[in-house]
Amino acid sequence: MKKTGLVFILTILLFLAACASKSYVKFVDNSIDRQIEIKDVKKRVLENGFTQIQVDGINKTDKYILFKYRVVWEDKDGFEIKSLATNWSDFSAYKNANFRINIISPSKKAVEYQLYINKD
């Protein structure tokens, strides 16, 4: 009984920790998930204090597709940090192949991100 209670509390804590993160990757158009899939999102703080994110995905289709992405960066208090990354940038997804998006934060203050992916 005690064990079940502990597992329940741990699950709740993990859920809350996940909710606390304001960073995410999102498809603007839901139909995109039929074409590509996000496999992994890595985030790290570099020695110089800048945050780096790497998104790994796969193009599940039999055709080359050009997508675009934009990143909105926020400071630790949730305030947006304006940068050129908020403009759309193209990225290529070759047919039946993996793709990778690698981005550096615009400053040390930028710690959370929202990465949006859309059709070109």
Partner: protein, 203 residues
């Protein structure tokens, strides 16, 4: 006959007035799906500046050992295209982004024409003007010399494909130089290519 002439004139004038009132559409830079042009537009400058800055921030060239900031001077950025471009369209975006990154201070005391603020010199000439409180005048020896310099050029190549089509290639080439050693510590090139009607003008 006279009546028909008057009617025709009135119709022509009305049409002219209407064409003058044709709707003007304002560009929404956040969601601009407008047709591409053969020349360079703001979307191309945004892309080139964004890629250059990302590349600079990823490289260790601007990481000062003590965690401080380098002083960056903006040198010549040559417009080697057939268009009348103010290269500040590119450089200003890079300057803002690098300044906001906290990695550099951008000096306006020295640099290429257009990147120097004349007030740096003029205010120092006030040291002999008794109308100014002398303790508020910038002293000699207070300007900081740059550690780094940013230079480059925008290059254009036009290639005819056939009598109806042409290809226009643009290269945004930038170099970051360590002024003490003269070494290029970062180099970046962004290519933007466009293919379209040979009748389109790319200048």
């Amino acid at each position: 006959m006279k009546k028909i002439n008057i009617l025709l004139s009135a119709t022509s004038i009305s049409l002219l007035l209407l064409s003058g009132c044709a709707q003007v559409q304002r560009i929404d830079p956040n969601n601009d799906n407008g047709a591409q042009v053969m020349g360079l537009d703001y979307r191309d400058f945004n892309e080139a500046a964004g890629k250059a800055v990302q590349s600079m921030l990823k490289s260790p060239a601007l990481d000062k050992k003590d965690g401080g900031r380098y002083v960056l001077a903006i040198s010549d950025v040559k417009n080697d295209t057939m268009q009348h471009i103010d290269t500040d369209q590119l450089i200003k975006k890079i300057r803002i982004e690098l300044l906001n990154s906290g990695k550099v201070f951008v000096t306006t005391a020295i640099g290429s024409k257009g990147n120097v603020d004349a007030m740096n010199k003029q205010t120092r000439e006030l040291s002999e003007n008794e109308n100014f409180k002398q303790s508020s005048v910038a002293k000699k020896g207070t300007l900081i010399a740059p550690d780094m310099s940013l230079s480059g050029k925008i290059l254009q190549r036009n290639i005819g494909i056939d009598k109806d089509k042409q290809q226009v290639e643009y290269y945004f080439m930038l170099t970051l130089t360590d002024i003490k050693t003269g070494f290029g510590v970062w180099e970046g090139e962004t290519f933007i290519g466009k293919r379209g009607s040979a009748k389109s003008v790319a200048w």
